[in-house]
C-alpha cells in the first residue's frame, strides 16, 4: 500500500476528486495548509505598507491506495492538478505498513 500526500492548489480539489473517483479511489483526507516552494508568496498592500506573504494557501490531499493502482493515481492527480504555472504543487509517495478499519477490524487492502 502507498500513501500519497498531494499538495495542490485549492482550486484543483474538485477535479482531483473527480479523476480519482474514476479510478475507484473511495476515500481521501483533505486539509488546508500553507507553505511555499518555488512559487514563493505574494504581495499585499494595506495603507501603503507592503507585506510579502510568503506562505500561500494550499490543500494537502492524503490518499492511501493499493500498490497496483498507485502509479495510475499519481498520474491522475498530476493531470488533474496541472495548470502549467509555478505553484501547481507536489506529490509525495511513501509506503504504508498497515491499514486498519476501526469499525470491522479489517486490515490491509480490504481496509482501504
Amino acid at each position: 500500500m502507498k500513501l500519497l500526500k498531494c499538495i495542490v492548489r485549492p482550486s484543483a480539489l474538485e477535479r482531483v476528486k473527480e479523476e480519482l473517483g474514476k479510478l475507484g479511489v473511495t476515500g481521501m483526507t483533505v486539509s488546508e495548509v500553507k507553505g511555499f516552494g518555488r512559487q514563493k508568496g505574494h504581495k499585499e498592500v494595506y495603507r501603503g505598507a507592503e507585506y510579502n506573504i510568503d506562505f500561500t494557501p494550499k490543500l494537502k490531499i492524503e490518499i492511501v491506495v493499493a500498490d497496483e493502482i498507485a502509479d495510475r493515481v499519481v498520474g491522475a492527480v498530476k493531470v488533474a492538478a496541472h495548470s502549467g504555472n509555478i505553484g501547481d504543487g507536489k506529490i509525495f509517495v511513501m509506503p504504508v505498513e498497515e491499514v486498519v478499519r476501526i469499525r470491522t477490524g479489517e486490515t490491509g487492502d480490504a481496509a482501504i
Binding site: R47, G48, A49, E50, N52
Partner: protein, 446 residues
C-alpha cells in the same frame, strides 16, 4: 455647531445665511420647534450609531483575529462610561456658561463650572435654542463618546483595558470638555470670541483625538514585531461595513450640528456627501498610481478622511469648497497614513492621527479659506479677510494640538504610574481577547 446667542450673529452679513438662522435671541428665550426637535432626535441616534457599531466595526476589522473583541469592547465600554461622566460633570464642564462674557477672557473662557453637574436644571421644559436641552445633552454626549473612541485606533492591540478606562475618564474630563467649551459653549468662549469656525468638531473632535492618538502611540510604543512582521487587517469586510455606517451616521454629526432642521443643515448634508466622495476617489486614485492597484481599504479610508476634513467646514462652505477640501483630505491623509507614519516610525496602529489628526487640521485650516463667499462659501464675518480667518483657524488648531497633546501625555504618564499602560508581552502575543476578556471573536470549529 450652530451658535445660539445673538452677540456674534451681528457680525454675519450674508443675507442668505441670516435667513436660515433662527432669530438671534438668547438661548432659552426661544420656543420649542418640533421640526428641529424631530431632526435632532434622529441626528443624535445617527451619531451614536457612528461609534457603536460603526467605528467599532471599522477598527475591529483592521486588527488581527486575536484582538477583534478588545477593540469592540473598548468602543462599547467607552460609550457607557462617557455617558456616566457626561451626566455627572462632563456636560457641565463643557456647556455651563457661568461667568462667560463676550470679549472677556477668563477661566470660564476655557472650561465650564460645575453649575450643571448632575445635569442640574436640565428638566423636561429646558430648551437649548429651539430644542429640548435633554436632546441637546444627548446629542453632545454622542460627540463626547466618539472622540475618545477615535483614539482607540492608536493603541489598539496592546493597551490594558483598565488603563484605557482610567485614561479615558481623565481625558474626557480634562481634555474633551475644555476644548468643547472653548469652541461651542457660546459667547465668551476662547475659540468662539476669536471667531473660529468649527461647525461640527474639527478641533473639538478630530484634531483633539488625533493628537492624543499620536501621543498615545508614542508613549505606549510599538506592537511586538512592528514593522518587521506583517500585521494585516483580519476582516476588511467588517471595516467596509463600519466605514459605511460612519458615512451614513456622519449626516447626523454634521447636519445635526445646525441644531435645527433648516437650510444650514441641508447644506451641511450636501457638502458632507461631496467632500467624502471626493476624498474617497482621490485616495483611490493616488493609491492606484503609487501602488498599481486601487484597494478597498484605500477607498474607505479616503472616505473617512473626507468626512473628517469637511466636519469643521460643513457649516461654512459650499459644494465647490467641499470638492477642494475632499481632494486635499484624500492626498494629505494618504500621505499621513503612509509616508509620514513610515518616515517617523511610530506605530499608530489604525492611523487615528494620520486620518483624524491630519484630516482635522486640513479641514480646520481650509474652512478659513473656503468659507469666503468668493469661493462659494457662506461668507466670513463682516470685515474679516480670508487671511485673518485663516489665522484664527490656525490659532484654534495650534491651541488644540498643544493643549490636547501635552495634557494627554501627562495623563498617560500618570496612568502608567498607577496601573501600567501596556499588557505583558505574553498577553500581547496571545491576543487581548483571550488574555483580557476570556473570549474569542470567532469560534468556527463545530
Amino acid at each position: 455647531m450652530e451658535r445660539f446667542n445673538g452677540a456674534r450673529k451681528k457680525k454675519w452679513s450674508v443675507p442668505a445665511l441670516l435667513a436660515t438662522l433662527a432669530l438671534p435671541t438668547l438661548a432659552g428665550a426661544q420656543e420649542l420647534n418640533s421640526g428641529d426637535t424631530a431632526w435632532m432626535l434622529t441626528a443624535t441616534a445617527l451619531v451614536l450609531f457612528m461609534t457603536i457599531p460603526g467605528l467599532a466595526l471599522f477598527y475591529g476589522g483592521l486588527v488581527r483575529v486575536k484582538n477583534v473583541l478588545s477593540v469592540l469592547m473598548q468602543c462599547f465600554a467607552l460609550t457607557a462610561m462617557v455617558t456616566l461622566i457626561w451626566v455627572l460633570w462632563g456636560y457641565s464642564l463643557a456647556f455651563d456658561a457661568t461667568g462667560m462674557q463676550a470679549g472677556v477672557t477668563n477661566i470660564n473662557s476655557f472650561v465650564g463650572t460645575f453649575g450643571k453637574a448632575l445635569l442640574a436644571g436640565v428638566g423636561i421644559d429646558s430648551l437649548t435654542g429651539t430644542i429640548p436641552e435633554t436632546v441637546f445633552v444627548c446629542f453632545q454626549l454622542t460627540f463626547a463618546i466618539i472622540t475618545p473612541a477615535l483614539i482607540v485606533g492608536a493603541f489598539a492591540e496592546r493597551m490594558k483595558f483598565s488603563a484605557m478606562l482610567l485614561f479615558m475618564a481623565l481625558w474626557s474630563t480634562l481634555v474633551y470638555s475644555p476644548i468643547c467649551h472653548m469652541a461651542w459653549a457660546g459667547v465668551g468662549g476662547f475659540f468662539w470670541d476669536l471667531g473660529v469656525l468649527d461647525f461640527a468638531g474639527g478641533t473639538v473632535v478630530h484634531i483633539n483625538a488625533g493628537i492624543a492618538a499620536l501621543v498615545a502611540a508614542l508613549v505606549l510604543g510599538k506592537r511586538q514585531g512592528y514593522p518587521r512582521h506583517p500585521i494585516p487587517p483580519h476582516s476588511l469586510t467588517l471595516t467596509v461595513v463600519g466605514a459605511g455606517m460612519l458615512w451614513v451616521g456622519w449626516f447626523g454629526f454634521n447636519a445635526g450640528s445646525a441644531v435645527a432642521a433648516n437650510g444650514k443643515a441641508g447644506m451641511a448634508m450636501l457638502v458632507t456627501q461631496v467632500a467624502t466622495a471626493l476624498a474617497a476617489l482621490t485616495w483611490m486614485a493616488v493609491e492606484w498610481m503609487k501602488h498599481g492597484k486601487p484597494s478597498v481599504l484605500g477607498i474607505v479610508t479616503g472616505a473617512v478622511a473626507g468626512l473628517v476634513a469637511i466636519t469643521p467646514a460643513s457649516g461654512s462652505v459650499g459644494p465647490m469648497g467641499a470638492i477642494a477640501i475632499g481632494i486635499a483630505a484624500g492626498v494629505l491623509c494618504f500621505w499621513g497614513a503612509t509616508s509620514l507614519k513610515q518616515k517617523l516610525g511610530y506605530d499608530d496602529s489604525l492611523d487615528a492621527f494620520g486620518v483624524h489628526g491630519i484630516g482635522g487640521i486640513t479641514g480646520a485650516l481650509l474652512t478659513g479659506i473656503f468659507a469666503d463667499a468668493s469661493l462659494g462659501g457662506q461668507g466670513l464675518a463682516e470685515g474679516v479677510s480670508i487671511g485673518q480667518q485663516f489665522g484664527v483657524q490656525l490659532i484654534s488648531v495650534v491651541t488644540t494640538l498643544v493643549y490636547s497633546g501635552v495634557v494627554s501625555w501627562i495623563l498617560l504618564k500618570v496612568v502608567d504610574g498607577l496601573v501600567g499602560l501596556r499588557v505583558s508581552d505574553d498577553e500581547e502575543a496571545r491576543g487581548l481577547d483571550i488574555s483580557l476578556h476570556n473570549e474569542q471573536g470567532y469560534f468556527l470549529e463545530s
